[in-house]
Symmetry: C2
Subunit: 346 residues, 2 copies
C-alpha cells in the first residue's frame, strides 16, 4: 500500500514521525509493505513554493491509498495573509472529495485525572462525531466589500444525504443511536439538514433511532451527559466546534484522531489538534492522536482491521504503562511515547 | 418605571411569575413603583393572533423602560412551520436594536455538585460573554431553492465595533481581560471581526488586554480552564453555542440570566434557557435565571444597582438555604424557590 505523509507545520512533523514509526513496526511485524512518500503542505509548502497545496502534493495524495496528515499553521502565516496554511488543508479535503470526517471519542480510565469533567460523567463514553467536511460556510462564497464582510453557507440535499448515510451506517454497527445536530429554529440550511436526515434514516436505516438536537443544547449535553451519545452527525462548522469541545471528555485534545473519507476507501487521517507552535520542536507534543489516526488509516483505507485494533490496544497499553506526555500530566517525550507504543505492539 | 412582561411559552409563564413577584417585593421594600404590562409573544402569540410578535406587543415594549422575557417555542410549532415562535424573539431583538447580549456566568460553591466539571476547575469562575445579537447568520438572507438551502452571514465594521465597545467597557470595570472569539482562519466575517476588535481596543481601550481565540479552541478552553476568562466577545452564532456550553460551569442552565442592550438604557432580560415543554406546567422549572435577569434589569435599565445586588444576594441565599429545584438536584418547586428569594430579600 502507498501512503502520502504530509507532516505540515509546528508539532506536525514530530507527531507524524512517531505515527510513521508505528506504521513501519506494524508492517514489519505482519508482513506488509507500506510505501511512504513525504509531501509539503501548509506553511512549510508556502515557504517552499508559495502555495499551501502545491500540485505535486495533490498528485502524491492522488496516487496513494491514504494520506497521513500532521497539522498546519502558525503565527508566521497570520489570518490576514493572502496565502494561508489552512487553505492547503481545506483544498485537500475538497479536492479529494473527503466529505465525511469521523472523530471518535473514547475514555481511558487511566486518564480521568486529565479531564476537567468528573470521573462519573465520562465513565463509559464511546461516541463518534461524523462532521460534514466539504460544504457549509467553510466553502461558500466569501468576500469583503468596503466596510462589510460576507460568508455564504449552503447545503444541497445530496451533500446532506451522503454524510448522513455514512453516519447511519456506522450507527447501525454500534448502538444504533444517531443524533443529528442543527440550528433548525434559525437557519434554512439547518431545516434542509433536518428534513434530509429524517428522510434518509427513515427510508434507508429503519433500525437506527434518530433524534435531533439544536447545536446550542448539544454543546451543553455533550459535557453534561456525554455517555448518552452514540453517533452524532452535523454540518461542518458545528462539527468543528463540538469536536474540540468533546476533546475534554478524553482528557486531552492530543489524544484524538480523525478520518476524512469520501465515497471509496481512500482517506486522509489527522489528529484533531492543531500545530501548537508554542511547544513545537521541544519534544513535548502528544503523538497518540496521530498514532490513533494511523490506526484508522489501517482500518478504513487499507482494510487491515486487525492491525488497526493492535495499534489502538498498543496506545492504550502505553498510556496504562504511564507513558504520559505533558498534556496528560506526565513528562514522557514525544519520541518516548512513540517508543512505548512500538514496544506495546510486540 | 414601566416594564413589559412577555412570558411566552412552556415554562416561560411559570418562571416569569416568580421574577415578577421578586420585582414587586423589591418595589414595595424600597418605595419604587413598577408598572407591569403583559404582552403576547412566541407560540402563545401565534395561537392568539397568527403572528409571533404582534404589533401591540412591540408597541408595549417600546413604551416601556425594559422588557422581562420568559421563553418561547415548543413541539406544537415545529421548525418547518411557516410562522415560528423564534421569529418573535428574533424580531424583538432586531426591532428594538438590542445588539449586545450580556451573559454572565458565576459559580455558587453550594452547587458544585450539580456541575459535570470538577470543583477545582470551576472554583472562582466569574466570566461574562457578550454576544452580538442582531447580525451574522441569524439575520442574513435565507432561502431554499429546489434541492439547496442558503444562509448568508454578514457583518459590517460598525456592527462589530459597537459590540466590542460594550464588551471592552465592561472589561475595563472588571479584570481588564477581553477575549475575542472568531474563526479567522476560515471566515471572511471573522477576519473583519478580528481586525475591528483589534483596532477598537487598541485605540479606545488601551488599558484592556485583548486576545483572540478561534471558536473551536475556545469551546475547549471554556470547559478546561473557565477561570482564565474574564470578558468574552463574539458573534451571534458562536455566542449562542458557547453560552449554552458555559452553563455547565454554573451547574444548570436554569440559573443563568441575560441582558440584551442597545445604545441607551432600554433592554430585554431573559434567562438563557429555553421553554422546556417537557416540564412545563408542573412546577418543576428553575426560576433563578429569570429572577437573576430581573436583577440585571434593575441594574442596566433602571439604574438601581443596589436593588440589583440585593436580588442577586437573595438568590444566592435561597440557594445556600437549600431551595434547590430539580435541575439543581433538589425538589423545591418553582413557586417555593420564588418564595425563598422573596424571603431572603428581607
Ligand atoms: C485548521 C482549520 C481550518 C480546521 C478546521 O476548522 O476544519 C481545524 O480546526 C480542524 O478542525 O481540522
Ligand atoms: C430561541 C433561539 C432563537 C435563541 C437563539 O438562538 O438566539 C436561543 O437559543 C437563545 O440563545 O436565546
Amino acid at each position: 500500500a502507498r501512503i502520502a505523509v504530509l507532516a505540515g507545520d509546528g508539532i506536525g512533523p514530530e507527531v507524524t514521525e512517531q505515527a510513521v514509526r508505528v506504521l513501519e513496526a506494524v508492517a514489519a511485524a505482519r508482513g506488509h509493505v507500506f510505501t511512504l512518500e513525504d509531501a509539503l503542505v501548509g506553511g512549510a509548502a508556502i515557504d517552499a513554493t508559495g502555495s499551501a497545496l502545491p500540485e505535486e502534493t495533490l498528485a502524491a495524495c492522488r496516487r496513494s491509498d491514504a494520506v497521513l496528515f500532521g497539522a498546519i499553521g502558525g503565527p508566521k502565516w497570520g489570518p490576514s495573509a493572502k496565502v494561508r496554511p489552512e487553505q492547503g488543508l481545506l483544498a485537500l479535503r475538497k479536492g479529494l472529495g473527503l466529505f465525511a470526517n469521523l472523530r471518535p471519542v473514547t475514555v481511558n480510565p487511566r486518564l480521568a485525572g486529565a479531564s476537567p469533567l468528573k470521573a462519573e460523567v465520562i465513565a463509559g463514553v464511546d461516541l463518534l462525531v461524523v462532521r460534514e467536511l466539504t460544504g457549509g460556510i467553510y466553502f461558500g462564497e466569501k468576500r469583503r466589500e468596503g466596510a462589510s464582510a460576507f460568508d455564504a453557507c449552503t447545503y444541497t440535499e445530496d451533500e446532506v444525504a451522503r454524510v448522513v448515510r455514512v453516519a447511519a451506517r456506522l450507527a447501525r454497527g454500534r448502538r444504533r443511536k444517531l443524533t443529528s445536530v442543527d440550528k433548525a429554529n434559525v437557519l434554512e440550511t439547518s431545516r434542509l439538514w433536518r428534513d434530509v436526515a429524517t428522510r434518509v434514516v427513515k427510508e434507508e436505516f429503519p433500525e437506527v433511532v434518530l433524534d435531533h438536537h439544536l447545536v446550542d443544547s448539544c454543546a451543553m449535553q455533550l459535557v453534561r451527559r456525554p455517555a448518552d451519545f452514540d453517533v452524532v452527525v452535523t454540518e461542518n462548522m458545528f462539527g468543528d466546534i463540538l469536536t474540540d469541545e468533546a476533546s475534554v471528555i478524553a482528557g486531552s485534545i492530543g489524544l484524538l484522531p480523525s478520518a476524512s473519507l469520501g465515497e471509496g476507501t481512500f482517506g486522509l487521517y489527522e489528529p484533531i489538534h492543531g500545530s501548537a507552535p508554542d511547544i513545537a520542536g521541544r519534544g513535548l507534543a502528544d503523538p497518540y492522536g496521530t498514532i490513533a489516526s494511523a490506526a484508522m488509516l489501517l482500518r478504513h483505507s487499507l482494510g487491515l482491521e486487525r492491525e488497526a485494533a493492535l495499534v489502538e490496544q498498543a496506545v492504550a497499553r502505553a498510556v496504562d504503562g504511564g507513558a504520559l506526555t505533558a498534556d496528560l500530566g506526565g513528562s514522557t517525550s514525544t519520541e518516548a511515547a512513540g517508543t512505548a507504543v512500538v514496544q506495546a505492539l510486540e
